[in-house]
Amino acid sequence: MVGRFRWAAMFPDEVWEHVFSFLTSDADRNAAALVCRNWNRIERRSRKRVFVGNCYSVAPTVAVRLFPEVRAAVIKGKPHFADFNLVPSDWGGGAEAWVEAMAEGWPNLEELRFKRMVVSDDCLDLIARSFKNFKVLSLVSCDGFSTSGLAAIAANCRNLRELNLRESEVEETCLNWISHFPESCTSLVALDIACLEGEVNASILERLISRCSNIMTLRLNHSVPLERLVGLLQRAPQLMDLGTGKFSARHNPQLFSRLESAIAGCKNLRNLSGFWEPGLTYLPAVYSICEGLTSLNLNYATIQNPELVKLISRCKNLRRLLVMDLIEDSGLVAVASSCKLLQELRVFPSDPYDAAEPVSLTEQGLVAVSAGCPMLHSVLYFCRQMTNAALLTVAKNRPNLTCFRLCIIEPRTPDYVTQEPLDTGFSAIVESCKDLRRLSVSGLLTDLVFKSIGASANYLEMLSIAFAGDGDMGLHYILSGCKNLRKLEIRDCPFGDKPLLQNASKLETMRSLWMSSCSVTLGACRQLARAMPRLNVEVINESGRGPLVAQPDNCPVEKLYIYRTIAGPRTDTPQCVWTI
């Protein structure tokens, strides 16, 4: 240790541990761990929370050994494009190796959060039996398990506080898994079962909710009818986050008034979602709590105007709004004038495949919200037309954007007024929004837009590109710029070998790169893999042309997934995946 820092060595480890406990972000703890060997040792030995953005970047046993005191772990598996069926279902992301290592080395684990992982019932069983103080299980966009596994969790995790299954695919093998929560279970604070397809016994759920007096989040699935929702709300008036079940019923004034008063009784309600199969007659039942809402998720609710706007305009304190494009431009204009505190807006397509009855949602709606909502920083917007002028306006209005994801549904759509590419528009976004962390581009785009992105998007961490660019230069601009790029995902772009090989070292500074339907050849992958031993270069070829080992260098690569790792090539690749 350098002379003038000898005073630091006088402190016992516990003091540094205590100091580090005030570092809440992973980035800060990582930075502390790089100062010197002592701090590295002390920090990692006392770290309580670990985040693994790519489950294959480190071997589970190594992670468990390095951080022996972990109480909470977040592990992510499949690449993001798995959400859109671009990744073969058997690609990987299995949780077994992690759960086994954790069961062995982290007996005091309390929180486990998986995203895009394949979690089997055996895994759930092992989790249920291995961690005596297990409190939180979150399985987001996961699959591979069934309600039998959930029954094991319910039955054995005595102190379970949170069970979250957001957007997971769950097989229904055990019909009444909810009944496996013992009578002694009173600890539940959050329960999100909205993704379950099957029936959930409402009576058993009611009894469970009754005895869990701290329940704050309850997100039901579509099988829970409106009549039963009333009972649940009456038993949990302290709810802050509610996902309704089916939101329609036969016209029944008594039911309406019971629902209305049950909802009004939930004075702490801040988040509202669900609204499966919404019936217009029952919507006004939620009006009383609209003003208190900070988050409203109607992205599965096929409500149209004017009822949709009537509902949203009452939510004057909304920070977060997820809605279908049924809101139309007129609705967004209303949002712009009613929801002045709006920070995040997501607009999803009601009819993504064929505009049989095109909805009147255009670039105008986006512009209106960008003008009217000064705190808006996160946007996801699906639409069918866009202009450079609109994007320039948005960029000027909202330089505070941190996330801008625009999806123009028809690939390669130009500015519909000028017929030009949307380069100028997106360039304006990245030049104006200096804190942009996430960007998705669409429409007709040339290499020029990538030049701007590479040069200006200094804090960009995630970039998604589809059906864009002219050639290799596009990718080169990105990889040679974008200083903080972590995740890059590309599909159907004419990007080839050269930019990859020229920027090989950049790839080690990123978490991962996905390229599908581009112009990359096997030869380049082989070169890259040879030059960069700490990258896994995975080639995915599903058309079964025979073992890749035998293929020539000029063989085109369908899908490519490159990620940095200290674990070396993984051992669980399926037939269609080769680690070069």
């Binding site: 859109f84 009549e227 049924l326």
Partner: protein, 182 residues
């Protein structure tokens, strides 16, 4: 495309009477707009699809895609109540079941009369009245949303139609057991 299928379909109605499509099929009922039919067919992946769909585009999550079918049907139907409310009706001892549309009846009296005439050939006398089973052989029960078997007649008509999944005409002896269980 479906016409010859309908001709060969087994039905319980008199020849020439309309036998509606059973609940739960993807094809929408006749009274719904034709646009609903069109889009249902299209989503079923029939050859008439105008455009070949690009895999994974637009980038909407698999969950949204899987639920798209259900969501689409909802937007076509102005009010969910517009479609029929068909439930199966079984009678203990009868060789086959019937299907009725609960929406057609305005109350319990009408329902019981309809069931009387439907199952007349199987029972010696009239089906039970609302007040009780004294002297008659059958009681009408229904299965509600929670799967419980309930005696017909206790709750308001609207509540009954919204929660009834299936009707069962039970033999007197078993039915008396049901009453006591209430």
């Amino acid at each position: 495309m479906a016409s010859y299928v309908e001709d060969t379909e087994l039905r319980l109605g008199l020849p020439g009477s309309d036998a509606p499509a059973s609940r739960g099929s993807k094809r929408s009922l006749p009274e719904n707009s034709s646009a609903g039919d069109e889009s249902c067919c299209r989503n079923d992946g029939s050859a008439s699809a105008a455009k070949a769909q690009v895999v994974g585009w637009p980038p909407i999550g698999t969950y949204r895609k899987n639920n798209f079918q259900a969501m689409k049907v909802e937007t076509m139907v102005v009010e969910p109540e517009a479609s029929g409310l068909y439930v199966k009706v079984s009678m203990d001892g009868a060789p086959y079941l019937r299907k009725i549309d609960l929406k057609v009846y305005k109350g319990y009296q009408e329902l019981k009369e309809a069931l009387d005439s439907m199952f007349k050939c199987f029972s010696q006398g009239e089906l039970s009245r609302k007040e009780g089973c004294n002297g008659s052989e059958y009681a009408i029960a229904y299965q509600d949303k929670d799967g419980d078997l309930m005696l017909v007649g206790d709750v308001p008509w609207e509540m009954f139609t919204s929660s009834c999944k299936r009707l069962r005409i039970m033999k007197g002896s078993e039915a008396r057991g049901l009453e006591f269980r209430q």
